[in-house]
C-alpha cells in the first residue's frame, strides 16, 4: 500500500494521516479478535497475549506503508505477531531449536502406524471414550513453538499450507513437515493421556511408548 490516501494540504494538515488511520482502523483493528485469539494460542497466557497484540498493532501501524492494498490484513497481522512472538522469546533466551527433520510422507505413515498400534492395543475408540479437548490444549502447550504455530494456522485459523507458510515465513515444505509432525505428536500425547487417566490399562509396551514421548 502506498501513501496515496494521505492528504497533502488543508484541511487535513492538522491530521495528515487521517485517511491512512481510518483505513488502518477499518482494515487492521477490525482483526483484533482474530489477532487476540492467535496471540493466545502462541503464548497460552492472557496477559502475555494482550501485550503481544499491542506490540503487533504498533509494529503494524509503523509498517502500514508496506501493506499492499488488497492483501489479507489478518494474515499480515498474524505474520507480524508470529515474528514478534519469536523475537521476544529469542530476547528472553528461551529460543527453541527448530526440528524440521521430519519427512512429511514419513510423518503421515507414522500417524497411520500409530493409529494401527492403538487399535491393536484396544485404544481405537479414543475419541468416544474421553473429552480430548483439555488434553489437546495441554499437548499443544507442550509442542515446540514452531510446530504449534503450524497447527494453529492450519487447523485453527484454517489457512492453506501456502498461506500458513507465508505467515510463518518458511517454505511450504517446512510447514507441511512441522504440521504433520505436530499432529503425530498430538496423537501420541492423546493416547498417553488416555492411558495416564486410566482409560486404558497400561502395558509394558505402552508404558515404554509413553516414556519416550
Amino acid at each position: 500500500m502506498t501513501e496515496e490516501g494521505t492528504p497533502s494540504v488543508t484541511p487535513a494538515q492538522a491530521a495528515p494521516n487521517l485517511g491512512r488511520d481510518a483505513r488502518f482502523e477499518r482494515e487492521v483493528l477490525s482483526c483484533l479478535p482474530d489477532l487476540s485469539r492467535f496471540a493466545r494460542s502462541l503464548t497460552h497466557d492472557a496477559t502475555d497475549a494482550d501485550d503481544l497484540v499491542q506490540e503487533s498493532c504498533l509494529l503494524a501501524y509503523r509498517g502500514y506503508h508496506t501493506f499492499r492494498q488488497g492483501d489479507d490484513a489478518r494474515r499480515w497481522l498474524f505474520r507480524i505477531c508470529r515474528n514478534s512472538f519469536f523475537r521476544q522469546r529469542s530476547r528472553a533466551s528461551r529460543f527453541e531449536p527448530i526440528d524440521d527433520a521430519g519427512d512429511p510422507a514419513a510423518e503421515s505413515l507414522a500417524m497411520a502406524y500409530g493409529h494401527l498400534a492403538a487399535v491393536q492395543r484396544g485404544e481405537g475408540d479414543l475419541f468416544d471414550r474421553i473429552d480430548v479437548g483439555p488434553a489437546i490444549n495441554r499437548a499443544l502447550r507442550e509442542l515446540p513453538s514452531s510446530f504449534r504455530v503450524a497447527v494453529v494456522l492450519v487447523d485453527m485459523e484454517e489457512l492453506s499450507y501456502e498461506e500458513a507458510a507465508v505467515v510463518a515465513g518458511v517454505p511450504v515444505g517446512t510447514i507441511r513437515s512441522r504440521l504433520f509432525r505436530a499432529r503425530r505428536l498430538l496423537q501420541d500425547k492423546l493416547f498417553a493421556h488416555a492411558r495416564d487417566a486410566g482409560i486404558y490399562p497400561a502395558t509394558c509396551a505402552t508404558k515404554k511408548t509413553a516414556d519416550n514421548q
Binding site: A15, N17, L18, D21, A22, F24, E25, R26, L29, S30, C31, L32, P33, D34, S36, R37, R40, S41, D50, V53, Q54, C57, L58, Y61, R62, P104, A105, E107, S108, L109, M111, A112, H115, L116, V119, G124, F127, V132, G133, I136, N137, L140, V151, V154, D155, M156, E158, S160, Y161, R176, L179, F180, R183, L186, Q187, L190
Partner: protein, 106 residues
C-alpha cells in the same frame, strides 16, 4: 467407522491405482484438500476399495476436527481495543470515531 468422500471431477477411467502406503503417505494432504484433482481422485478410489486404510483416515480427520474445536474463543474486548488505540495514539494515530467501540467481526 466411515468417512465422507468428496465428489471427484476426474473420470474413473483416468484414475491410477495406488497402494496402501501411497494412500497413507497422502493422508494429511488429502484431508486438508491440498492435493491436485488427480491425486485426490486416486486416494478416493483407493479408500472406496480398501477397508484397511479407511479407519486411519477417519481417525486422522477426527483428530483434526478435535484440534480445530479446541480453538480458543476470544470475544471482542473493548478494554484491549482501547488499550491498543491508546498505544497507537502515542504514535500519532487518530481514530475516525473517537470514543466509540465497534465490536469487530469474530
Amino acid at each position: 467407522m466411515t468417512i465422507t468422500l468428496p465428489e471427484t471431477t476426474v473420470p474413473t477411467s483416468a484414475v491410477a491405482a495406488i497402494d496402501c502406503a501411497t494412500a497413507v503417505q497422502r493422508l494429511w494432504d488429502y484431508l486438508d484438500a491440498e492435493l491436485d484433482a488427480s491425486h485426490m481422485a486416486e486416494v478416493e478410489a483407493h479408500l472406496r476399495g480398501c477397508s484397511e486404510c479407511g479407519p486411519h483416515f477417519a481417525f486422522a480427520r477426527k483428530l483434526a476436527e478435535q484440534i480445530a474445536a479446541s480453538r480458543t474463543a476470544v470475544e471482542p474486548c473493548e478494554a484491549l481495543h482501547e488499550r491498543v488505540v491508546a498505544a497507537l495514539a502515542a504514535e500519532g494515530f487518530r481514530r475516525a470515531r473517537p470514543g466509540t467501540f465497534d465490536p469487530p467481526r469474530v
